[in-house]
C-alpha cells in the first residue's frame, strides 16, 4: 500500500469515527402514554391534547384507513420489520403551567436548545429567524409570534392552531396529503401529536425565515409531527426545518407529513437540513425516517421550491413533491443526500404537471460512502392538459469507496406532445486527477476531497438560505470529508 493510500485509509477511519455531535440526551420530565397502537391510543392522544370532536373523527378515520394498508415494499431499502406496538406514540415535556416568558421555561430545555444552536434566546433575535421548536412531537416554544402577528401571519404550533384557527385547519388539513395517501401518512394522520402551522395572508412577504426544529428525546418514542403551510395570493415565505436526535441503540421511528398550499402568484421555499441520528458505524440504532412531503401550486404562477440536505437517519424514505395545478406554476427540487456507514436512503421527488406551461426542475446529488445505499427515485408526470410544460431532471451520484451503492430510478410519464421532459444521470467517483491537481497546489487530500464534494453539491447548497447553508456545509464535511478510498 502506498503512502498516499495509507493516508486515505487513515482519513477514512478518522471520518467514520467522527462522533454524532447531537447525540446527547436531555433529562427532561416527560409525560408519556403507554406504548402500543390501538384505537384507544388514538383517542388517548386526542384527549391529552383536548382536541375538539372533529379532530378526533379525522384521526379515527385515518386509523381505520391505516388498518387496511400494508407497509410499502417497493423502495430500494432493507428495513427490518417494524413493530408498531413497541413504539410510544405520545411523549411531551411535562408542562407545569402556561409559560409566559423564556425565564419560566425549564432550564434543562433551554440548555437543550442552547446545544442545538437554536435561537430561542432573546439575544439571538438578531439572527432573525422565527422558530417553532418541536421536542418529542410537542411544540414547546414559538418565537417572534407577536411580530409576525402584526402582519397577519399565523405561525404557531399545530395544537394551538386547532384551538385558535379551526376553520383554516378544517379547510386545509389533509387537502394535499389525504390520510389514505400511503401507509405512513395514514399512521401519522391517526397519531400525530403536534407540529407547526403557518398561514401567510394575501400580499404579505414574510420578513423573516420561519423555522421548525424537531428533536426526538425520550427513548422508544416515535415522532409524528405535521406541518401545514398555506400561502395566500401573492405572498411569500421561506421555511426551514432541522432535525436531530440522541444516540440510542434501538431504532426510532419518525413519520411526518408536510403539506403546502400555494395560491395565485405566491411562493413557498421549504428547506430541510435533516440530521437525525444515523446509527453507529456498524449500523446499530438510528432513526427510521418516513416522511410524506407534498405541496400544491393551486393558483396561477405559483411556485414551490424544496431544498433538502439529508445527512442523517438510518433509513430515509422521502419524496417531496409538487402538484403543479395552476397554469405557469413552477416546482423545484434541490437535494443533496449523503449516506455513510450502513445508512440507506431512497429519496427523490414527484412533479405532477396539470397546468399549462408549468415548469419543474429536479437537481439531485447523491453521495454514498462506507457500506451505504443511496437511491434516487422520482416521478415526472405530464398530464394531457399540461401543454407546453417543461421538466428538467439531473441526478448525479458520487461513490466514495467500493462497498457502497448508488442507484437511480426515474419514472417519466408523458401524455402530450408539446411537453418536453428530460432526464440525465451520471455516476462517478472523485478522480485521482482531481485530487492530484489539488495536492500539487499544496492542498491536503482531506481538504481536497472536502473541496470537491462541496463543489459537487454547490448547485444545491446555493439554494439554501444563508443561515442553513453554513450549517449544511459543515454537516457535509463531518459526514464525508476524506472518505474516499
Amino acid at each position: 500500500m502506498s503512502n498516499k493510500e495509507k493516508d486515505q485509509e487513515q482519513i477514512l477511519r478518522d471520518v467514520t469515527q467522527t462522533d454524532y455531535k447531537y447525540g446527547f440526551v436531555t433529562d427532561i420530565e416527560n409525560d408519556m402514554i403507554p406504548k402500543g397502537l390501538s384505537e384507544e391510543t388514538v383517542r388517548l392522544i386526542s384527549a391529552k391534547k383536548n382536541e375538539p370532536e372533529w379532530m378526533l373523527e379525522f384521526r379515527l378515520k385515518a386509523y381505520q384507513q391505516f388498518l387496511k394498508m400494508e407497509m410499502p415494499k417497493w423502495a430500494h431499502l432493507n428495513i427490518p420489520e417494524i413493530d408498531l406496538q413497541e413504539v410510544i406514540y405520545y411523549s411531551a415535556p411535562k408542562e407545569k403551567k402556561e409559560v409566559k416568558s423564556l425565564d419560566e421555561v425549564d432550564p434543562e430545555l433551554l440548555a437543550t436548545f442552547e446545544k442545538l444552536g437554536i435561537s430561542l434566546d432573546e439575544q439571538k433575535r438578531l439572527s432573525g429567524i422565527a422558530v417553532d421548536a418541536v421536542i418529542d412531537s410537542v411544540s414547546v416554544k414559538t418565537t417572534f409570534k407577536e411580530t409576525l402577528g402584526e402582519m397577519g401571519i399565523i405561525f404557531c404550533s399545530f395544537s394551538e392552531a386547532i384551538k385558535d384557527h379551526p376553520d383554516l385547519i378544517k379547510k386545509y388539513l389533509g387537502a394535499v396529503v389525504p390520510p389514505s395517501d400511503n401507509y405512513f401518512a395514514a399512521l401519522n394522520s391517526a397519531v400525530f401529536s403536534d407540529g407547526s402551522f403557518c398561514y401567510i395572508p394575501k400580499g404579505v412577504r414574510c420578513p423573516m425565515e420561519l423555522s421548525t426544529y424537531f428533536r426526538i428525546n425520550a427513548a422508544n418514542t416515535g415522532q409524528f409531527e405535521r406541518t401545514l403551510i398555506v400561502a395566500d395570493d401573492e405572498s411569500y415565505v421561506s421555511y426551514l426545518e432541522g432535525c436531530t436526535a440522541p444516540q440510542r441503540d434501538e431504532n426510532q421511528l419518525h413519520a411526518a407529513i408536510v403539506e403546502i398550499i400555494v395560491e395565485k402568484e405566491a411562493e413557498v421555499k421549504y428547506s430541510t437540513v435533516q440530521n437525525w441520528y444515523p446509527g453507529d458505524k456498524n449500523g446499530v440504532g438510528g432513526i427510521y425516517n418516513f416522511v410524506t412531503k407534498r405541496g400544491i401550486c393551486r393558483g396561477e404562477s405559483s411556485k414551490i421550491s424544496w431544498t433538502q440536505v439529508e445527512t442523517g437517519s438510518a433509513v430515509t424514505w422521502k419524496y417531496p413533491s409538487c402538484i403543479l395545478k395552476g397554469d405557469n406554476s413552477v416546482g423545484e427540487f434541490y437535494s443533496v443526500a449523503v449516506t455513510n456507514n450502513h445508512q440507506q436512503a431512497d429519496t427523490g421527488s414527484k412533479m405532477i404537471h396539470i397546468g399549462k406551461n408549468s415548469k419543474s426542475t429536479i437537481i439531485s446529488k447523491g453521495i454514498s460512502a462506507g457500506f451505504s445505499q443511496n437511491s434516487y427515485r422520482g416521478l415526472v408526470k405530464v398530464l394531457k392538459g399540461a401543454k407546453e410544460s417543461r421538466n428538467y431532471s439531473q441526478c448525479d451520484s458520487l461513490l466514495l469507496g467500493d462497498k457502497c451503492g448508488a442507484h437511480t430510478f426515474p419514472y417519466l410519464e408523458v401524455d402530450n406532445r408539446s411537453a418536453i421532459v428530460e432526464h440525465e444521470a451520471t455516476t462517478s467517483k472523485i478522480s485521482e486527477d482531481q485530487i492530484f491537481y489539488c495536492n500539487q497546489r499544496g492542498i491536503k487530500t482531506e481538504d481536497a476531497i472536502g473541496l470537491i464534494v462541496n463543489g459537487y453539491a454547490k448547485e444545491v447548497l446555493n439554494k439554501l438560505p444563508m443561515e442553513f447553508a453554513v450549517e449544511a456545509q459543515k454537516l457535509l464535511q463531518v459526514s464525508l470529508e476524506g472518505s474516499v478510498g
Binding site: W74, H76, K384, K387, S397, L399, L400, G401, D402, K403, C404, G405, A406, H407, T408, F409, P410, Y411, L412, E413, V414, D415, N416, R417, S418, A419, I420, V421, E422, H423, E424, A425, T426, T427, S428, K429, G485
Partner: protein, 462 residues
C-alpha cells in the same frame, strides 16, 4: 386491472394443459428436458404472470393479454399450400439462409429439419437438435433462462417444443446472414411459444436476422424465448424486425450470455404490432465484453410497444450501450424500462443508456424508466431520457433556408430514426429499412393501407 384470482385461473389452465394434453410430449423426451419441464411448470405455478403491481410491468397488463381464449398450439400446423406462395420476404435482394418457423414450429418445405452449412455451422429445428445433438442442447438449453424469475419465461420453458437451433463451432464464420422468419398463420386465435437457442463458440462470428410476421387476421399471442450464448471472442449481430398486425400480441424474451471479450449487437425494430413487449436480459459474465442494444419503434393507432432491458455487469472492464428510440403517433402507447446493474467489484465498467421519444399527438403516451443500480465506485455510468417534439430551432434553421415546414419536419424525424437504422450492418436490410421508415414517416405507406388483412375492421367487428 386484473385481479389475482384471474391470474390463478390462467395459471391452472396451463397446468391442466401440461399434465393433460402435453403429457404425451413430455413422456417422449429425454431426461434433461423432462427436468426442465417439471422445474419450469412448478416455477410458473409459484410465480404466475406479472400484473401491473410488478414494477417491471407497471405500464402493460400482461395477464390481461391471456384472458382471451387462445388455442394453444402444441402440434405443428399442417399447411397444404406452399408457404412460399403466400409469404415473400419484402427484402428480395437479401441474400440469406432462411429458416421458417410457422406457429411456433420449424417448417421445412423439403422435409429436411437440420442442416450443416459449409462453415461447419449447424442450423435447423430445435426439436430435431434434441434428437441429433442431445449433449449440445443439454449443455445450453435453459441455462440462461432458468436463472430468471420471470413468469413468462418459466411458462415458455414449461412448454419447450420447437424453434431454431444454431450452433457455430470454434472460429467458424457464418458465410451469409441467417434469416429466421417467424410466421403466424391460422384461421383461429392461437397462442404459440417457440424457443430459439443460438450457441456461438469461441472466436466464431455471425449475423442473424429475425423477422416476425403474421399472415392471417386472427388474433395471435406469441410468447417466445431466445437464448444466445456468446463464448470467448465471439462476435454476433442480431437484428429483429417485428411486423405483425394490429390484433397480435407479441411477447419476446431474449437472453444474451457473454463470455470474455465477446461482442454482441442486438437491434430491435418494431415497425408494427398490436401489443409488443420485448424483454432483453444481458449477462456480461467475464471481462472485456461489449454489448450494444438498440431499439426503434414507429408506433401508431392503438398499438402499444413496451421495451425492457436488463444489463448485468457481473465482471470488470465491460462496456454496454443501450439506445432506444420511438416515434409515437395517434393514440399509441410506448414504454421503456432499462436497468443497468453493476455488481460489486465490477470496476472500470462503462455503461450508457439512452431513451428518446417523439410524441406526434396529444393522445400518444410515453412512459420511461431508465435505471441505474451501481455497487462499484470506479465506473462511468450514465443514462438519459427525453420525451418531446421536434427541436424548434432546428426547424427554424431549415425553414430559413427555404425548406418547407412539412419537409423539414420529415427530415428531422428521419434523422432521429436514422441513428438506430444506421447500426444495421446487413447492407440490403439497411437499405430496405431505411426506405420503409422514410415512406412511413412521409405517410406514404402506412402499412395498413395496402394490406389485405384489414385487421382493424376485423377487430371492431369482434
Amino acid at each position: 386491472m386484473i385481479i389475482k384470482e384471474e391470474i390463478k385461473n390462467i395459471v391452472s389452465e396451463f397446468e391442466a394443459l401440461h399434465s393433460g394434453q402435453f403429457a404425451s410430449v413430455v413422456a417422449a423426451t429425454p431426461a434433461f428436458l423432462k427436468n426442465i419441464y417439471n422445474q419450469s411448470i412448478a416455477k410458473f405455478k409459484s410465480i404466475g404472470l406479472p400484473n401491473r403491481k410488478n414494477e417491471n410491468y407497471k405500464y402493460l397488463d400482461i395477464a390481461n393479454l391471456f384472458t382471451k381464449n387462445y388455442e394453444k398450439a402444441i402440434t405443428p400446423t399442417q399447411v397444404k399450400v406452399d408457404i412460399n406462395d403466400i409469404f415473400k420476404c419484402d427484402v428480395p435482394e437479401l441474400d440469406t439462409n432462411a429458416i421458417i418457423i410457422l406457429n411456433g414450429f420449424y417448417f421445412s418445405p423439403d422435409g429436411n429439419k437440420i442442416n450443416t452449412l459449409p462453415s461447419g455451422a449447424v442450423v435447423g429445428s430445435l426439436s430435431q437438435a434434441i434428437i441429433d445433438y442431445p449433449e449440445l442442447v443439454e449443455k445450453y438449453l435453459n441455462k440462461s433462462a432458468e436463472k430468471s424469475d420471470e413468469g413468462l419465461v418459466a411458462l415458455n420453458s414449461a412448454f419447450i417444443q420447437d424453434g431454431v437451433f444454431i450452433y457455430v463451432p470454434k472460429d467458424a464464420k457464418l458465410e451469409k446472414p441467417l434469416q429466421i422468419i417467424h410466421l403466424m398463420m391460422e384461421s383461429k386465435s392461437i397462442m404459440a411459444q417457440h424457443r430459439n437457442l443460438f450457441v456461438f463458440e469461441e472466436g466464431s462470428e455471425g449475423k442473424v436476422v429475425i423477422c416476425d410476421h403474421s399472415l392471417s387476421p386472427s388474433e395471435f399471442l406469441t410468447n417466445s424465448v431466445s437464448e444466445i450464448f456468446a463464448a470467448e471472442n465471439a462476435k454476433i449481430e442480431v437484428v429483429r424486425m417485428q411486423n405483425e398486425h394490429n390484433s397480435s400480441k407479441q411477447l419476446t424474451n431474449t437472453f444474451i450470455d457473454q463470455q470474455k471479450d465477446s461482442d454482441v449487437i442486438i437491434n430491435t425494430l418494431t415497425l408494427h404490432g398490436g401489443t409488443v413487449r420485448n424483454n432483453l436480459f444481458v449477462n456480461l459474465n467475464d471481462e472485456g465484453c461489449q454489448n450494444r442494444a438498440y431499439g426503434l419503434n414507429l408506433t401508431d393507432r392503438n398499438q402499444q410497444v413496451d421495451n425492457y432491458v436488463y444489463i448485468n455487469h457481473a465482471k470488470p472492464n465491460c462496456h454496454s450501450t443501450q439506445l432506444y428510440k420511438g416515434v409515437l403517433d395517434d393514440e399509441a402507447k410506448g414504454a421503456f424500462s432499462g436497468r443497468i446493474f453493476v455488481a460489486p467489484d465490477a470496476q472500470k465498467t462503462e455503461a450508457f443508456q439512452n431513451n428518446n421519444t417523439m410524441l406526434l399527438t396529444d393522445d400518444a403516451q410515453m412512459r420511461s424508466k431508465p435505471q441505474l443500480e451501481i455497487y462499484a465506485d470506479d465506473v462511468k455510468c450514465s443514462h438519459g431520457s427525453t420525451s418531446g417534439q421536434l427541436d424548434e430551432d432546428a426547424l427554424f434553421y431549415m425553414k430559413a433556408r427555404g425548406i418547407g415546414d412539412k419537409e423539414a419536419r420529415m427530415l428531422l424525424m428521419f434523422a432521429f430514426a436514422h441513428e438506430i437504422i444506421s447500426k444495421i450492418s446487413v447492407e440490403p436490410l439497411f437499405e430496405r429499412v431505411n426506405n420503409l421508415v422514410e415512406k412511413r414517416l412521409r405517410g406514404e405507406m402506412s402499412r395498413c393501407n395496402n394490406c389485405m388483412m384489414a385487421c382493424d375492421t376485423n377487430q371492431k367487428n369482434n
